[in-house]
């Protein structure tokens, strides 16, 4: 459902992504790991359509459609979701109001009428329970004054309400205690299904105990230098990325 081919992207003229190839099929969950600054969030942002990233080569197809030509909101309406590494605070816009605007925007795009108020409330209640979010957060401004963990939970909550077909989770586990981690994982697992795909960016193998990936990739210096099964995450946890840093050749050999 997501095909990334030879993707090169620059920020301020500096090449960050140096030829990414990645194919994710419906029903699959892929994990990306890699050291700080390797380009993980850049990849997520390019997929979601954030300004300031220039794609200099390659393509990204979503269900065969050219994703890179779509405005960010169109990508979202097509069923793409990005759980932000750093969710933005938006003072003055109530969380619930924002969510309803988002749901209705997607419905409008699909030619459906606005969501029925009662149906929406039922959905919200149900999803709130799923991520164990407090009802008071609905009335508060989007992410304003939320703790780090609450912000991440809010991302998963939004995802659970919007029910995208493909979600990129950018370090949704960072800064979470073990209970919160489980909640986030439950939120993701509840959505997993044969029609949905996930790209989970993380630094910690521990998340992958809960969200068990089909494939793990190592992103290093703008390239996927290695791919493997879930056991790769364990290996990385033990050995770190030093291997890739010192001897790219050996890494490639190890990958082969």
């Amino acid at each position: 459902m997501l095909e990334i081919r030879n993707l090169h992207a620059t920020v301020d003229g500096r090449e960050i992504l140096k030829g990414i190839d990645l194919v994710i099929h419906p029903g699959e969950t892929h994990a990306i790991m890699g050291p700080n600054g390797s380009g993980k969030s850049t990849l997520a942002n390019v997929i979601a359509g954030r300004e300031g990233y220039e794609v200099t080569e390659g393509e990204v197809l979503f269900d065969g459609k050219n994703l890179l030509e779509m405005a960010p909101e169109v990508r979202a309406c097509e069923g793409l979701f990005l759980a932000f590494q750093y969710p933005v605070e938006i003072p003055g816009v109530a969380n619930l109001y924002f969510l309803k605007a988002a749901v209705n925007a997607v419905r409008k795009y699909r030619g459906e009428p606005s969501v029925d108020a009662m149906d929406f409330w039922d959905l919200v209640q149900e999803r709130m329970e799923l991520v164990k979010m407090d009802e008071s957060m609905l009335k508060r401004s989007v992410n304003e004054g939320f703790s780090g963990g609450e912000k991440k939970r809010n991302e998963v909550f939004q995802m659970a309400v919007l029910q995208p077909r493909f979600a990129v989770m950018d370090e949704t586990d960072s800064g979470l205690d073990i209970d919160a981690l489980r909640v986030v994982a439950d939120g993701v697992n509840a959505l997993r299904g044969p029609e949905r795909g996930f790209l989970v960016i993380t630094h910690y193998q521990r998340l992958l105990d809960y969200i068990v990936p089909d494939h793990v990739h190592v992103l290093f210096n703008g390239r996927i230098v290695r791919s493997g099964g879930k056991e790769l995450a364990l290996e990385l946890e033990e050995q770190g990325y030093a291997l890739y840093n010192e001897e790219p050749g050996r890494a490639r050999r190890a990958a082969a």
């Binding site: 909101e73 816009v93 605007a101």
Partner: protein, 435 residues
């Protein structure tokens, strides 16, 4: 007299002779008018050399040969409504329009009337208060108003009178090359309470130079709303004077949408212990509009508190000015005075000027002020769009969120809702439902 004031060519003196000759009113009032005219003559037409008028471009106004307005009729359909039972007084070109006014039953000795009429029936209620408040002494257009006001609203609530029904005061101007000088005198005796909505609006190219005087006795509570929606070619140069007695509360909401140049000078004197005020101002301007608040809050007594929140949203080449002074007299210990000015620029050509000023002469006070100016947060825009919300709608949402901070302080729901939709129209953005 300043050498730049072209008093000899000042057409106002000539106009005044004819105007004053036709008035039938107490001598004391006639004297006030002459003093107003003299004060205008000595202040002169403002120039950009004067600090207080440095950023105001009155060139286009100076080109107009301002005449006194003709009598005019307006259709009731063009007047704003509030969807509430109100006492309504309407003035067209500064003159009372009884046919467009409606007073409901008033408690006891309360009086809500045309100022001109009340001056004939109750001069003793008016003379002790009219033009008695300090403030605006350097404001040439307030001086002109004192010379030339024809009519306005008089609101008098005796001790402990609570006016449950809001007062809706509509000042409509219509015509080209005219100047109107409406007046509002509001006297709340000790413990009285009132909610007032003042609307300035019109059609044509005119100058509206209103003056409002608001007096609050001990423990009085006032909710005052002033909505400036003048015609796009109009000039609005108004003044508000407030004096607050002990433990009184003044909540003043000023919203400015219209006019090519709209400025309000607001002088508040906290003249009793424990008096408090909230001054909530919002400017929305686009194209080449200019909106300006000059605010002075004077703490004269201990334990007073004041909170100023002034915001502007500017599109096109619009400009805003916020000049805000907090003055704390030596005696006014335990004062808590805060001021915040926040400006949102929707275009690269828009410009906001902030000039916060503090004069703190007491040592045991809490004072704070801050000013920020910026564009819409691109990260917030992206966040909304990444959830499927189209760019325009996302922009609208964020502008509303910014302005709602001001609008949400307005407790009068029908007014707040109307202003929210005016805001959308004003900025030519899509309307969104209230949160």
């Amino acid at each position: 007299m300043s050498s730049v004031a072209p008093v000899v060519q000042n057409p106002f003196r000539q106009q005044f002779a004819a105007f004053a000759a036709g008035r039938r009113e107490p001598d004391a009032i006639a004297r006030l008018r002459r003093e107003g005219l003299d004060r205008f003559a000595s202040l002169g037409w403002p120039t950009r050399q004067q600090e207080a008028w440095r950023l105001a471009d009155l060139g286009a106004l100076a080109q107009i040969d301002l005449q006194r307005p003709a009598d005019a009729l307006v259709d009731a359909g063009v007047l704003p409504t509030l969807d509430l039972p109100v006492h309504r007084l309407t003035f067209v070109n500064g003159r009372f329009a009884p046919g467009l006014s409606r007073l409901r039953e008033l408690p006891g000795q309360a009086l809500i009337a045309s100022l001109g009429q009340a001056l004939l029936t109750h001069p003793e209620r008016i003379e002790p208060h009219l033009e008695r408040l300090p403030g605006l002494s350097q404001h040439p257009f307030a001086a002109l108003n004192t010379a030339f006001w024809e009519d306005g609203a008089f609101v008098y609530l005796p001790r402990t009178t609570v006016a449950e029904t809001p007062l809706h005061l509509i000042f409509h101007a219509t015509g080209d090359d005219i100047a109107v000088y409406p007046r509002l005198l509001l006297v709340l005796e000790d413990g009285a309470q009132a909610t007032v909505v003042v609307e300035y609006r019109g059609k044509g190219r005119y100058l509206n130079a209103p003056v409002a005087e608001l007096q609050l006795g001990a423990g009085a509570v006032l909710h005052y709303h002033q909505v400036q929606e003048e015609a796009s070619q109009a000039f609005h140069l108004g003044g508000v004077r407030v004096r607050q007695g002990r433990d009184s509360q003044a909540n003043l909401h000023l919203v400015s949408f219209g006019g090519q140049l709209a400025r309000t000078d607001l002088d508040t004197l906290l003249d009793g212990e424990g008096a408090s005020c909230v001054l909530n101002g919002l400017i929305l301007a686009h194209d080449r509009q200019m909106g300006d608040y000059h605010v002075r809050v004077e703490h004269a007594q201990p334990h007073g508190s004041s909170e100023q929140l002034f915001k502007s949203v500017l599109d096109g080449q619009a400009r805003s000015v916020f000049d805000g002074m907090i003055h704390v007299r030596p005696h006014a210990q335990k004062t808590d005075a805060r001021q915040s000015n926040r400006n949102l620029l929707l275009s690269k050509q828009a410009r906001a000027n902030a000039n916060p000023r503090l004069e703190i002469l007491a040592d045991d006070v809490k004072c704070g002020h801050g000013s920020t100016t910026g564009f819409l947060n691109p990260d917030a825009l992206f966040y909304l769009r990444a959830r499927g919300i189209p760019a325009e709608q996302a922009r609208t949402l964020l502008v509303h969120a910014f302005a709602n901070d001001s609008l949400n302080r307005i407790q009068l729901t029908p007014l707040r809702e109307r202003l929210a939709s005016s805001l959308a129209d004003c900025l030519a953005l899509g309307n969104i439902e209230e949160q």
